[in-house]
Each structure stands twice: as structure tokens, then as C-alpha cells.
């Protein structure tokens, strides 16, 4: 998989929040085999001492994708992205501009506005968006080369709520890397997204809040690899009626009745 001229072997991008401990987090990253992890920026208290979290993540070797989570305006997201670029030393940014505090759905207007500014400023923008095709067009016009449609509301674990719309998006943008971001709750849902031809899945809560996050990270890694392999193998077309898989020709007639 190639994202902004970077080749990645894993199609899982993993969030780093809400884990029971730093050790569980780094073990989950390793077990999932993910090559990209998301991080954030938050207020630092004076005399707060060294932040042990950042060196720990650097040691994982995963590529860092900072986010603008919690930003509610284009300018807020732009400033946060600039701060993240300096701190994390990467021009990659997961661009989130939230339009509603309850639903956490993206504000597509502010998203496009921020994407235009950040792309022009040299950022590799990963926009968290809806499955709306026109918004997607505008994001590509703004300079985005990857799109991240939601599966379901952030943290809901509901899977792919709008399968038809996501299929349409996949068909409409065959050569744009599309990453399902948010709402994935189970490995089967991630596998479904991969079988539909999406390029990757970004998730956090489903692993972090699992009974055993390390084992769940591994399960997601396997499901995503299986879903991708299935997509590449080509799924059979569904049929409306039953069709026998064992040949009928040459079947014995034992003369014991039964309707054929």
C-alpha cells in the first residue's frame, strides 16, 4: 500500500489512546503489526517533567500520524497541524474538523477549507470525512491524495453503517487510497471493509477497550490481511437462488422415491 509516496506493508492504522497501560499499548502495536500510529497534542502543565509517552512511541518504529482531534474550526485545525508538524517531525496530518460535539461528525466545509491551506503548505493531509462524493471531490481538488471516510460515528463500534454509499465511493475513486476511519468495533467489520476494496482501516477504541487489547490487535491484523486477500482473490457474485455445489449428473437412482 502506498500513501503519499510511502510504501507500507500493513493496512492497519492504529490509534494510541485509551489503553490500560503504556506496555499494553506498545505490545498491541507489535501484535497488530501496524505500521502507522496516530497521536495527538494536548496542553502541557509547567514543571510537568519529561513526557515518557513520546519516546515510547518513537521506539515502536511505526510511522507517526498526528491528528487534529477536537478541533471545531478550520483555523484551529490549521494551527494544530502546524504545531504537530514541528513536534512530531512529519508533514503527515490526520485532519479532523468536528462539526458537532455530540455526533462528532466532520464539518465538510471547514474540512475542505483547512485541507486547501494545509496541502498548499506542504502537508500530506489524511482527511476524516463522510462518504459524500462531492465533498470527496473537493478534498481531492484541494490537494488531498488520500481520503478517510467514516464507517460509523467515532467510538461507536457500529461497523459500516452506509455500505451502499461506501461501495459507491470505492467505485467512484478507484485509484485514490481510501481508508475507513472510525466506527469499527470488530475484526469482522474491518474484514468487510477490506473485502469491499478499501485500502486500509484506522481504528483505536476496538483494540484499546477490548478485554485483551494485545490479542485483539493481533485479531484485527489477521482480519484485515484476510479481507484484503479475499478482495484480491475476487469474491463470487451473489445469486438469488440456490445452486448445487455437488454435481447432479451421474447421481444414482436407488428407486427409493423422493422428488427431483
Amino acid at each position: 500500500m502506498r500513501l503519499y509516496d510511502v510504501d507500507l506493508s500493513s493496512r492497519l492504522l492504529l490509534g494510541t489512546a485509551q489503553y490500560p497501560s503504556p506496555l499494553v499499548l506498545t505490545d498491541a502495536i507489535a501484535a497488530a503489526g501496524c505500521g502507522v500510529i496516530t497521536v495527538s497534542l494536548r496542553r502541557e502543565t509547567a514543571n510537568g517533567g519529561a513526557n515518557g509517552f513520546w519516546p515510547l512511541l518513537q521506539a515502536t518504529g511505526a510511522r507517526i500520524l498526528p491528528n487534529t482531534a477536537g478541533c471545531h474550526s478550520a483555523q484551529e485545525a490549521i494551527t494544530t497541524a502546524q504545531m504537530a508538524r514541528e513536534v512530531f517531525g512529519t508533514n503527515w496530518i490526520k485532519l479532523e474538523v468536528i462539526g458537532n460535539a455530540d455526533t462528532l461528525q466532520p464539518d465538510p466545509f471547514a474540512l475542505v477549507e483547512a485541507a486547501r491551506v494545509l496541502c498548499a503548505d506542504g502537508f500530506a493531509v489524511f482527511p476524516y470525512t463522510t462518504e459524500d462524493l462531492i465533498v470527496a471531490e473537493r478534498l481531492l481538488d484541494a490537494g488531498c491524495r488520500v481520503l478517510m471516510p467514516w464507517g460509523a460515528p467515532i467510538g461507536s463500534g457500529r461497523g459500516l453503517r452506509h455500505v451502499d454509499a461506501l461501495n459507491a465511493m470505492r467505485a467512484h475513486f478507484p485509484s485514490v487510497p481510501l481508508i475507513i476511519d472510525a466506527g469499527i468495533g470488530a475484526p469482522s467489520q474491518a474484514a468487510q471493509a477490506m473485502e469491499m476494496g478499501f485500502d486500509a482501516v484506522l481504528l483505536n477504541t476496538a483494540v484499546a477497550k477490548a478485554g485483551d487489547p494485545v490479542a485483539m490487535g493481533r485479531a484485527f491484523g489477521q482480519a484485515i490481511a484476510a479481507g484484503r486477500a479475499a478482495f484480491e482473490a475476487g469474491l463470487m457474485p451473489p445469486r438469488d437462488m440456490a445452486v448445487p455445489s455437488t454435481p447432479v449428473l451421474g447421481m444414482a437412482d436407488l428407486g427409493l422415491g423422493g422428488l427431483r
Binding site: Q18, T38, S40, R42, E44, A46, G48, F53, V87
Partner: protein
């Protein structure tokens, strides 16, 4: 002068952002700064004067989804 540091009223005597961070005890940890909503790069902190009422944000790496 009194500035707003991460949302809290804070007294500082330093004339620029770099000196203020040192005086407030931020030390050498990995930080990003903004002044009145705009990003201030590390290299510009020493030449960025502070004024009464300025809003300063000091952010550090944190877990995120």
C-alpha cells in the same frame, strides 16, 4: 504582565515567549507553542514579544485516535 497560559491567568515577567517558557519551568521537553491562535515555531520564540492579555498555548505529545 498577566497572560493566559493554557486557559489559566498567569503572571510572567519575561519579555518574549522563549524566556517565559524557561521562567515558567517548561525546561527542555518536547513542546509546541501558539500565541493568540497562531503557531509560533521554536526558532521564533525568542523574537516573539509577549503583551498583557496574550493567549499562549503550550502543547505536548499525547495519545490520540
Amino acid at each position: 504582565m498577566r497572560i493566559e497560559l493554557n486557559g489559566l491567568p498567569t503572571e510572567v515577567a519575561a519579555a518574549n515567549l522563549a524566556d517565559a517558557l524557561t521562567a515558567l519551568g517548561y525546561g527542555s521537553s518536547t513542546l509546541a507553542t501558539a500565541l493568540n491562535g497562531g503557531f509560533i515555531p521554536v526558532a521564533a520564540r525568542a523574537t516573539t514579544p509577549l503583551h498583557d492579555g496574550d493567549r499562549v498555548e503550550v502543547l505536548a505529545p499525547m495519545q490520540g485516535g
